[in-house]
Symmetry: D2
Subunit: 292 residues, 4 copies
């Protein structure tokens, strides 16, 4: 079985490595060449371009940066047209529900199976093969994908038969993370406004009611004003909130908290903080209160 893997970013590289370790033959491509070379050292076959990697692939795994990259590579870059009938494309990127739905249709038109499978987990989780995989697509395609999911993740969460459903779930999760950060930001500004140290407040909440990874991770960064290097850039957070709002609009779901978060992200960007870690979103709440 020939596997093509497109997109060797922070997440894609360790994921592709795990497929190699599990014994799969992997044809790899990435927009910039360095990670391809790294993966080739681990046994991958470097492809000259995405289309070449996809040709004759039984399974195409892609985890590209965003909607534009997916459109440019899969549709305009003619990867889809290079896939053979009956092949399976597993798209693990966080993309819009609308594009996911379009892709599902385009793949069906070409006789190629399509599964959306965005993941939860940072790079160390990817390295350990312990991702949570949110997967949607028709049952047969999901069954074909499962052995790969078992290599990449600790658990596969089935989200439905329509691929875009997995993207909706992924966006809902990322929206909840944005809200957790934004809410911490406001809560911190509130207690600071009453002269309570944010370190003590964050210690309290992450030790008690909010003793969850997301609060501990982002809360720790806020406590220490540690926003660089960015684990996940604030500007990418805005992208996901925007996709969340669009996914809501597509299903007539108003999302006032997501709307408030959108404005907060934009305000962060307007103050030159888009390159900082997502935790820096908390700075905007403090700035609004005149605390910065």
């Amino acid at each position: 079985m020939k596997i093509a893997f497109l997109g060797l970013g922070t997440m894609g590289l360790p994921m592709a490595s795990n497929l190699l370790k599990a014994g799969y033959t992997v044809y790899a491509w990435n927009r910039s060449p360095a990670p391809v070379a790294m993966l080739a050292e681990r046994g991958a076959i470097a492809a000259a371009n995405a289309r070449e990697a996809a040709t004759d692939a039984d399974i195409l795994v892609s985890i590209l940066a965003d909607d534009d990259a997916v459109r440019a590579t899969i549709l305009d870059g003619q990867v889809l047209s290079a896939l053979k009938a009956g092949a399976l494309h597993i798209n693990m990127a966080t993309i819009s529900v609308e594009l996911a739905s379009n892709l599902a249709q385009e793949h069906q038109n070409k006789g190629v199976h399509y599964v959306a499978a965005p993941v939860l987990g940072r790079v160390n989780v990817a390295e350990a093969g312990q991702l949570n995989i949110l997967a949607a697509g028709d049952a047969q395609a999901l069954a074909t994908a499962q052995p790969l999911f078992d290599v990449l993740g600790q658990k596969t969460w089935k989200c439905g038969a329509r691929p875009e459903q997995a993207n909706a779930v992924k966006l809902a999760v990322n929206f909840m993370i944005a809200s957790a950060i934004g809410t911490m930001g406001e809560a911190v500004a509130l207690v600071q406004g009453h002269d309570v140290a944010k370190t003590e407040f964050l210690d309290l909440i992450t030790s008690t009611v909010f003793a969850a990874p997301v609060y501990q991770g982002y809360g720790g960064a806020i406590a220490q004003d540690r926003y660089e290097p960015a684990g996940f850039k604030l500007s990418l957070g805005l992208k996901d909130v925007r996709l969340t709002l669009a996914a809501g609009e597509g299903a007539n779901v108003p999302l006032p908290i997501a709307s408030a978060l959108r404005d907060t992200h934009i305000e962060s960007l307007a103050h030159g903080e888009g390159h900082l870690d997502w935790a820096a979103l908390s700075r905007t709440a403090a700035r609004r209160a005149g605390q910065l």
Copy 2:
């Protein structure tokens, strides 16, 4: 040492019981008589009224329902004027920052020490003496209160020298809980809008990124549409959000997520759901999306 205990509601009753068990002499009063009788069976001395309970007390512990009850009992009901000079009042209720600040001043005027000590934890935690206690006041008063805190809680979190600081912290925590529920409500509406079952989505998030008590508790209720009996009424949630917004305004801290939550709570009340558990806040997100 004579301890007066005012307010034997859901939380006050087990807390007063624990003080009795620890060997303290407790003079008890409650607006309705039944819990006083229950506590008397456990060794408390029933007081005819709040003022009588407070007379000669070394330490007054109160955990009354809200600002109005505190004003009516402590100020208008002349409990404060009945306290002897040098006594200590530990106010464990969730009240406004403004009232807490006023009370601090009034107590100081009378030569009575004042500590604010709202708590985190539901009734079972109170019964087990495992509350988290958020305490603020001057160092000497806090030291006097500590033995009682050790009986009632697992840990005391010092929030500052001004009593209202503890109330600001408590409100910030409750705001974060409101936001967690409201955010889950929007996220659930979003995935439901894409035909994903909320049970599966809530299972996913509470098993992974949001594996924290508050999400598991309220998320479980949302998953099962289980809103009665109310552990904490939605209408009380609105009260706390209102106090949060006022605490923000008092320190010039804008709180847009809290504002969005305020509107959601009011909308829930407008649809007759104020008596339901706080988790029912999620219904308003679904209602807005035409899903109910």
Copy 3:
């Protein structure tokens, strides 16, 4: 007929003057003495205090600063208890619906008629006796008040039989003004973000779709960055938005735009702009966009 007039601020002074000009006998009081002296020169009888002014009055007209001033003067200052049975109190201040409702009850308990009659119009309109008067109360009391309204205003708008209804209407109008300013602020920030001069944009809208006094007045100030002296202070705008939100909560009416405006006002205060004219609210939209 003896008329008592309490509150000779910017609006009260010209209104009381007009009553004098119309031939009424006016007993006047104000917290600070200077305006009383001015009015005495125009024929008013200076009262030593509010209670003295009210004693034996047939009609008491009051236009005090806010809820606190009304409570302090009318209730705590015992003006109400000094009024004779059958007298009429016309309260023309912009106060909360809740206080208006309480006052209506208190007056009824004392056998004193009570009409709420807040006004629309700035000082020059008051001087010209051309105010729009929003009046509510029982029909007989409104009929008694009408001759005074005819002196003070160009038109009396009946808002209902319960006095607080007029206050609800007044707050709704002020909320709409706040929204007009806040909306102009966002629109200006948007076009500025695309390098369009705000002067040209404001000229356009106030000459066409929004050719209304409120847009022309506040829009003109925004166009010229003219925020001092304040015609109506931004901090008073926050007070009215807060009362609007409370009036909404009292009737289970969510008000998301008012909530957004509340946060914008607070942010303005946090940046030291509460003393500026209400038009300065627009600065916060520009500040958020990094344009200041």
Copy 4:
């Protein structure tokens, strides 16, 4: 001089008619044929398709429905490639800032002048040739367009040298209209919550502080619950709010009131009201308050 006119909808038809009346030769095309036939009776030359109309045109005027229609017709439909070098395209549609910017670039690449000139005014204003025209583009192109603007409108407002600036202004105006309607909706819900008839409240505000066309028009519809036939559909209002938010995001301008309005529009759609007149947005405020 040969003029091509694409898009004979509600606005386009009377505009093209006015150009005919002014003596211009007009080659007309519309997606559906009926309006073309109507215009041909008035002297226009019917084109078989958009590309044919544009061929050899000195000036192309287009007023198509939305971004998709513009892309489909001008770019994908190869109208742009059919235009001769040195021709002028006047795009009078309300489209996104992003598309306007892309079009400016595409036209420049082809050596075709491009002016954006969206308009203010409903159909009767278009018929009377009394539109307000918001125009942006380079000075020479604007000068070429001016004689046509003089036929179509009462005044041309210059918005800048970059075409997309006119679109930003147009969106800012439409956002302000959305806010006026949404704000009236909340204000009406507020007074209704206190048992004040909305007819009287709307009469008050549109006679006094808000005596402007937009309030009188939409306020009158709200007063009478008259939402059909739609003068401007609520669903189109959502489109414009969405484009406004995108224009804000493109320039890092947070727009919290626009965000609140977005959610209100979506909620209206979720309750099946997207086909109603924009004034029906007020229903969502009432629905949230449990008043419907």
